[in-house]
């Protein structure tokens, strides 16, 4: 069941800690609430993928540890600007910090006004698990033909919430191998920690 604006609002101040949804900061509820969603803003942190230092992304590469080699981190001032060029893919994150209760799931989507400018806010991973806490990651790309100017605080996305049929048996915070729990800033891929990747046959491992 998709939560309405009033349901989302009441979850944000619900006195029952098991039902409480945290999204902070809400800067302007009037502007951020949609009929069934809450707009979210862009943070100051961006991560561009570098394609000069490596021929390809090998399965076993420890991107988190070597993110300085394969990515460029850009941190803006609160009034700074970032230009997303056509075809470019960068990671960014929501300004808002989330904590979902065990009975709510979420989904991050773009906003129509920005979609019309060619801005895509996620490539594939828009789902937010029950029990998740942290900032949400934007997988930004520019499908248009002109660079898009971005600044921290822009409302480029929206999150909708779903009431689940029952509380999750193993919420995200309790899940083994939950990689991005309580992240306060964007984090590069930790796919290398998946056992299927980490334990691949050494003979078939990428050079």
């Amino acid at each position: 069941m998709l939560l309405s604006d009033i349901d989302i609002a009441m979850r944000l101040v619900n006195p029952d800690p098991l039902k409480r949804l945290v999204v902070t900061p809400i800067i302007s509820a009037k502007r951020q609430f949609g009929p069934s969603s809450l707009d979210v803003r862009l943070s100051t942190d961006f991560q561009r993928l570098e394609n000069m230092n490596s021929p390809y992304l090998a399965l076993g590469k420890r991107l988190p540890d070597e993110e300085r080699a394969y990515t460029e981190r850009v941190v803006l001032a609160a009034d700074g600007r970032f230009f997303l060029h056509p075809g470019e893919f960068v990671l960014a994150s929501t300004l808002e910090y989330f904590r979902l209760p065990d009975d709510l799931a979420g989904r991050i989507e773009g906003r129509s006004s920005w979609g019309r400018r060619g801005l895509l806010v996620h490539a594939t991973a828009g789902f937010v698990d029950p029990g998740f806490a942290g900032v949400l990651t934007f997988e930004l790309s520019n499908a248009g033909r002109l660079p898009i100017e971005l600044t921290p605080g822009l409302r480029i996305g929206q999150v909708c919430f779903f009431q689940m049929s029952s509380r999750s048996l193993v919420p995200y915070y309790a899940k083994q191998g939950a990689k991005y729990f309580e992240a306060t800033t964007l984090e590069a891929s930790k796919a290398d920690t998946d056992p299927e990747v980490a334990n691949q046959n050494p003979a078939r491992r990428s050079p």
Binding site: S4, V22, T24, K30, Y97, G153
Partner: protein, 454 residues
């Protein structure tokens, strides 16, 4: 306990810096020499850590309140001192490695505290464990830059230097407010206008001005990084008489506390730390060759000169029109500490209690409430950004009420291995919450500014 916490914290920060440097150097394909310098530092630090951990059972016993005999107590202190030596030396030698820039949140903090968009000061990292400040122009003079060229370079402003180890440690950035106090002192010629009296260097007055400026904008938390760092010093400096530099720290503490009291700001939240500092100071005095008489004499001399100057200094600092830390900020900070303990950023707060907002929302009926009324109820959810001084104060209160438990968890004793990763995780997490909070507060304020313009 405070000393142990400080050194374990610094150790975890150094471990992280060295690991990050290793990745950086490997990624950049640096030459053998660079990698070898780094490996040498890693090995050096590991050796000190290993020696310290040989006494971990005694450390655990001390943490759990088990009475130790005199030899055991000396053993624990010696083990901690070995670790302190390793940490200090390695930190000094970070000079040999590539440098990173300071975190942008450090500038957010200063801009917010001092209410200035243009700080006219840069923040850079240094291999000293404490912070300091210098004027770009003074350096130009020292390195003999020609007068004509100096004209083109004189806009350099001031440079604030922050310890490498504190790059991601907002709690330590309170010292930056002190260093920025020097910038304001120079800009407004405060200490220059106060006659120091015979035998007292004007630099000592300048330090007091900077202390008061930091306390004015940040409250009692401005003192804490100084105390923690000093507790980590193995011994007190021998002072024959006061000269250029900082007044003796106990005097600084007294002057700042008196200054805050006059502003109506209490220091009760940090009494335990002030007491811990006094004990540590007394212990170090006793260990000096002359029983600490030289230091005490210098302290008395400084007191007799500086105490009468405190009034004129505070008047001048108060007249700068800076945002003042008030008792209400301390009260708010305690509320934010509770939010922090729920593992959330603490950049903002709602103006109305949640139960009141819940009640207002609960009274609305979907489909029958006029939009204006719905928006009015929803606007109760709006949050306002909190001052950075509250974020830092809340962070300090959180740290001071939680580090002891984490140390016990790190050193479980009873034959179980110590796990330094537990403390490192704790340090990382507190840093993360506070860095995020400072970032959020800065963006929040900027967005509100844009909305207000509309």
């Amino acid at each position: 306990m405070c000393v142990l916490s400080e050194v374990i914290e610094k150790l975890s920060r150094l471990d992280k810096i060295l690991k990050s440097q290793k990745v950086f150097i490997t990624a950049q394909g640096a030459d053998e020499g660079s990698a070898s310098a780094l490996d040498t530092l890693i090995t050096f630090l590991a050796r000190h850590k290993g020696t310290f951990l040989e006494s971990s059972d005694l450390v655990a016993a001390a943490l759990q309140g088990v009475p130790l005999n005199q030899a055991q107590e000396i053993g624990v202190l010696a083990a901690i001192e070995i670790l302190i030596t390793g940490v200090r030396k390695v930190h000094e030698l970070l000079l040999l490695l590539p440098r990173e820039t300071a975190k942008p949140q450090a500038s957010f903090l200063l801009r917010d505290c001092f209410g200035r968009e243009d700080l006219r000061a840069s923040i850079v990292l240094t291999n000293f464990l404490s912070a300091y400040e210098y004027r770009f122009e003074d350096i130009l003079k020292k390195i003999n830059v020609e007068q004509e060229e100096r004209e083109h370079l004189k806009q350099g402003g001031n440079v604030l230097c922050q310890a490498f180890a504190d790059r991601e440690n907002p709690l330590a950035w309170a010292v930056l407010a002190h260093e920025y106090g020097h910038c304001l002192d120079e800009e407004h010629a405060i200490s220059q206008g106060i006659r120091p009296g015979d035998g007292l260097d004007s630099a000592v007055v300048a330090e007091t001005v900077a202390d008061f400026v930091a306390a004015h904008v940040l409250g009692p938390a401005s003192l804490l990084p100084i105390l923690f760092l000093e507790m980590m010093q193995p011994q007190l400096k021998r002072l024959e008489r006061i000269s250029a530099g900082h007044p003796p720290t106990p005097l600084r503490v007294q002057l700042v506390r008196d200054y805050l009291r006059d502003l109506g700001v209490g220091t009760a939240d940090f009494e335990l730390e002030f007491t811990a500092y006094e004990h540590d100071y007394a212990r170090k005095l006793q260990r000096m060759d002359d029983g600490g008489r030289s230091v005490e004499a210098a302290g008395q001399e400084a007191r007799s000169f500086l105490v009468p100057l405190a009034g004129p200094i505070s008047s001048k600092v108060n007249s700068l029109g800076l945002r003042r830390f008030e008792e209400q900020n301390s009260i708010n900070a305690k509320g934010l500490r509770e939010t922090l303990s729920r593992r959330q950023p603490i950049s903002s707060r709602r103006l109305r209690p949640d139960n009141e907002i819940f009640g207002a929302l609960n009274s609305l009926t979907s489909g029958q409430t006029p939009p204006d009324r719905a928006y009015e109820a929803l606007s109760g959810l709006d949050e306002v950004p909190v001052p950075s001084s509250e974020i830092l104060t809340a962070g300090w209160i959180y740290k001071l009420t939680s580090f002891e438990g984490k140390l016990v968890e790190t050193f479980p004793g009873g034959g179980r291995q110590p796990n330094l990763a537990v403390y490192a995780d704790y340090v990382d997490k507190v840093d993360d919450w506070l860095l995020k909070s400072l970032e959020l507060a800065a963006v929040h304020a900027e967005v509100r500014r844009r909305l207000d313009v509309m």
